[in-house]
Amino acid sequence: MNIILISVVIVNIILALLFSLGAAPILVWVERRVAGFIQDRLGPNRCNIAGFRLGGLIQSFADMLKLVFKEDFRAGNIKERFIFRIAPVIVFVSAFLSFMVMPFADDLVIGTQTFIMQGLPLDFGVLWFLALAGLSVYGIILGGWSSNNKYSLLGSVRAGAQVISYEVSMTLALVSLLITYGSIHLVDIVNFQSGLIFGFIPAWGIIMQPVAAIIFIITSFAEANRTPFDIAEGESEIVGGYHTEYSAMKFGLFFVGEYVAMSASSALMVTLFFGGYNIPWVGTDTLKEHFDIVMIAIIVLLPLLSYKFGGWILKNNVWPKADDKRNNESKWLIRILVMMNIFVVLLLGSFLFFGVSATTTNIAVAIMQVATFAIKLLLMNFVFVWVRWTLPRFRYDQLQDLGWKVLLPISIANIFVTAIAIVAFGA
């Protein structure tokens, strides 16, 4: 049975890597393309490998390559070399590790064994996230300070002050949530949300605890140093903030770390407020019981959606010059899409025909939950990007006002209200 254990652990780690590290280039791409579309322009769409542009995704890889091969320059006035070097690593590693406790799927049962579907199988997920999210700001503070430069120092001071003021409200918002859920284990929290309120509304955190949800979303924007709270970078005021002096892959680590942190925040938001890996109205047990119906639904829906998507590709994925090799891409994409459809439909068809064992059902359900989680994660990340290209940056005093005078009192009041409600009506 050990082979199964090891393979599940490896799959979990690969999934965690994919969702955090692998997501970074995709998120950079999403950010740039979405920014383009929001501002009525195209965004990066030119870079290609043998004509394949994948909608501009190749540009992200080109940028990463560029960062790797750039000169790693360090200004002569930087004395604290060790701290200067270690700062981006702290940011990156803590963002990366904080992702490791997000559950991608319900506990997987293979034979007699049960596996927690997380990168690290820990059952104190929320606390782990808070600890590491608090740690990542050390990287920013140390990096800004060791740069020995007033703009960098200003950036890191801002980051420190901001995280102190927002982490308080974030944790307090979490406390009221934890009172509601009665557990700090993320899998328990997600399973709590698989129920229904009044029989038709999914019992998601955002419906149970709307105030805590809003506070948590606002503060995690601040935690991830994203607009409208990116005053630590504030390129219009303090050059580049804490990463002014950084170049090449040291800057790259800050850059990727920011996206991984954003992805981790989104994952936590999805887990806490949007039902995690739950498909709305369909719990894990329902999925397992009616697996035939689910397969038939997929066999019908997948080709329909693919047909729509293929039409969209043919309409929009064109290059203005007729004889350019970029114009061959759509043809190949359509072929790949058709092949994938045939494969999935045949596979599910054979399952339907021959029947499935309990283990296969469990694995298939886990795969569907991972896919659900991935989709929700992408949507949440999209919200991060969407907000960034909508809202302007806060002024420093407004930021502190909002943190201390608005969010903190509301989150404390929310704890009281929640506690009273729990005591009065029972858990």
Partner: protein
Amino acid sequence: MGIKIVPRYGKSLKDRLYLPAIFGGMKTTISHFTKNLIDTSNIKTECYPEMQPNDITDRYRGVHRLTHREDDSVRCVACFMCATACPADCIFIEAVERTDGMAEKMPAKFSIDLLECVFCGGCVEACPCDAIRMDTGIFTFIAEKREDFVLNKEQLLNNTARKEEN
């Protein structure tokens, strides 16, 4: 004299909640996003260099050209007015005597350093006999060496006015 009372915003509860305004803004941006995602041809971006700009006006100051007389000889009389007017000091002229009776002088050499030129159009304004113009519509000039950016008399004479494309 009328007094205009400017309404002050930001004091009502709705304004102070921030969230309605934020959601309003997000609605605007998402509508742009979905419109452009569904049909990218809504976007006006031109994929240069595959698509060339088509909105260059007649008055656009492109790379210079030297104009010709009716018999195709050079119109310039080497009066140095343009070189004097040029704020960037990038016009270099060497004059010789003109023997065919059209004028007294003509340029033996006439070169413009495009790396120095600020495309102000001062030379065109200064010329007393319409010998230099900037109506070629050439908005990009590429070369590999610095020396290649200095256009000589023959190159300037060979530049032609931009054709109206319709």
